[in-house]
Amino acid sequence: MELTGAEIVVRSLADEGVRHVFGYPGGAALHIYDALYKQDRVQHILARHEQGATHAADGYARATGLVGVVLVTSGPGVTNAVTGLATAHMDSIPMVLVAGQVPTHLIGDDAFQEVDTVGVTRPCVKHNFLVKDVADLAVTIKKAFFIASTGRPGPVVIDVPKDVTANSTKYSYPKSVKMRSYAPVRKGNRKQIKRAVELLLNAERPIIYTGGGVIQGGAEKELTKTVQALGYPCTNTLMGLGGFPASDPLFIGMLGMHGTYESNMAMYECDVMLAVGARFDDRVTGDLKKFSPTARIIHVDADPTSIGKNVRVEVPIVGEAKEVLADMNALIPDNGKRSNGEAIEKWWQRIKEWQGLKSLNYDRDSELIKPQFVIEKLFEVTGGDAFITSDVGQHQMWAAQFYHFDQPRRWINSGGLGTMGFGLPAAMGVQIAHPEATVACVTGEASVMMCIQELSTCKQYDLPIKIVNLNNRYMGMVRQWQEFFYDRRYSHSYMDALPDFVHLAESFGHTGICVEKPSEVEDALREMFGRKDQLVFMDFITDQTENVYPMIAAGAGHNEMHLQPLSDGKTPQAREVA
């Protein structure tokens, strides 16, 4: 049967198993939109901005493990989507973006709404294709899904000129594709895995440090087994939260710039480190010269370029976290007596001492709403069972610190690129994927403004997202850096002329509620989550001066943490530890 290119795009998506596409129409994509109209296997969700569409597809992918799919038009459609592509790329999220393009004979002519899509997107995608012949369309789409979802996942762009969507050819969707230049490694090297296990079994001060690779690779069960079989402390990166249950006593919290004291100190003093699906990002390592000086490092990652990029690795293992951990588990003997038992006990004592410092403490008697308190209550009220999306800033860190994730894919935030505006559209994607689930977006008044137009999408598709706006009337994280490092010169970090968020939400057809007293927080949250079918925008007016602690300044070592100042008013710098 002959189909047009546009019909092939839609049919291929359907045959690939895609049920939802997030997008925004325009001239070069109109044939494809017409094909969408004539079928009902693929549902299209109309965002209000292409950035919103890409973040929504991204949230959808993070919450499900499926490939998020985006459809945009050429030119501004593509440039608006670039932030969303880069966000997904930095966090290794599987995504396929189909972009309309000007007709092939106009490419290079500065035609109306022409942009060099392949050129513009190259540095922020895993791969991209320009399809010049309709005969290549179906197989290119298959390849795009294959590349996006395997190895280290990432976004793939398919640029489709308008004439290609108009031309016809015989359609058949390939069952699989083979590419001679792309063959991701799944299994780890057996010898290396044996060496790793030996090193771990003889460790005296071990730590297991895991990142987003465990979540994206669906390796949480295997990881939990590894950690529990060994009985070693486990810490997660911001992207790795939920990879190991936060309620397990072996979990010692997040690490990195705003990680717990115990995690960072354990990283600093460890003798053997097992890193899984993590990439030794600068927000995690701090000053590389002071990073884990005594550690012998085992690094498991699907992407060979992540290994040995920033730190020296003694046992590199290229492979998927799930496969490698399963192979390791088979070599770890059951909890019998171990030669290093005594050392491990001592190590745990040391960690308990660090935990005794209670680095996540905050002032619980304040007259003002403390943002940490809101998140603690959010955790309580939702029973820890919500999908939490977030934006970027202090609120993001507090959400990561105070909402305890026992399951993967529940904590959804832009870790690598740090994209303000991510939270609300990402929550839409999560809610579309899981219509019955509780989805909350923890945001700040600056971040939420960056994609606020998506409230309209939420109305159109009846998405009952709960927005927890920690409103400190500041770009809080920027203000915090200015307080610490720029002598309190608050240059342009004040959010002047904020909207009335209650009315703003109402004008989009949602419910808005403002909360100003700590005593009202819990009831307000209960009311919000009681309104199951409504989007509720809850504006919490919080303490403007609150800072995120602990904090390792950019470029400092893990042993140089600032902790929350005491009530004696000493500055954080004066309380530098160790």
């Binding site: 190259r122 590349i147 370029t305 990029k309």
Partner: protein, 145 residues
């Protein structure tokens, strides 16, 4: 390729690319400098590009490097003879002549070409164009196998 080098801050000394006997493949020779760790990263990053079939570091074993140089130089009076002599010593050829200029063609490893340019000394160079290095491993093994 070039974008990858600039995005990651790697040096690129030269890059040559041309089709091969297999019309679905092109072959590139990239000359770069860096510590072992950087070279390892570059190799991995290149391998990661979806369209790259294979990457080898030619300097891991015996290999041959060749580069083509074309130079337009002023050749008048006494310097005419001198240039010709130098070209002969370096086994180059003069491939275009006017009353006042020569165009010289020379192939060899990069350092031979450098030496030639240096030896021109006082002679006025109007233009030099170099192809960048192409390389191939010695022996009976081929990149494709």
């Amino acid at each position: 390729m070039a974008a990858l080098f600039s995005a990651r801050g790697y040096n690129i000394e030269s890059l040559t690319v041309a089709p091969t006997e297999d019309d679905t493949l092109s072959r590139m020779t990239i000359v770069t400098v860096g510590s072992d760790q950087i070279i390892e990263q570059i190799t991995k990053q290149l391998n990661k590009l979806i369209d790259v079939v294979r990457v080898i570091d030619l300097t891991d074993g015996p290999h041959i490097e060749r580069e083509l140089l074309l130079a337009k130089v002023v050749a008048k009076d006494r310097s005419r003879e001198e240039v010709k002599r130098l070209v002969d010593i370096f086994r180059g050829r003069i491939i275009d002549v006017t009353n006042t200029t020569y165009i010289i063609e020379l192939t060899g490893p990069g350092d031979k070409l450098n030496a030639f340019v240096e030896s021109l000394g006082e002679i006025q160079i109007m233009e030099v164009v170099r192809s960048g290095v192409s390389g191939i491993a010695r022996g009976d093994k081929a990149l494709r196998s």
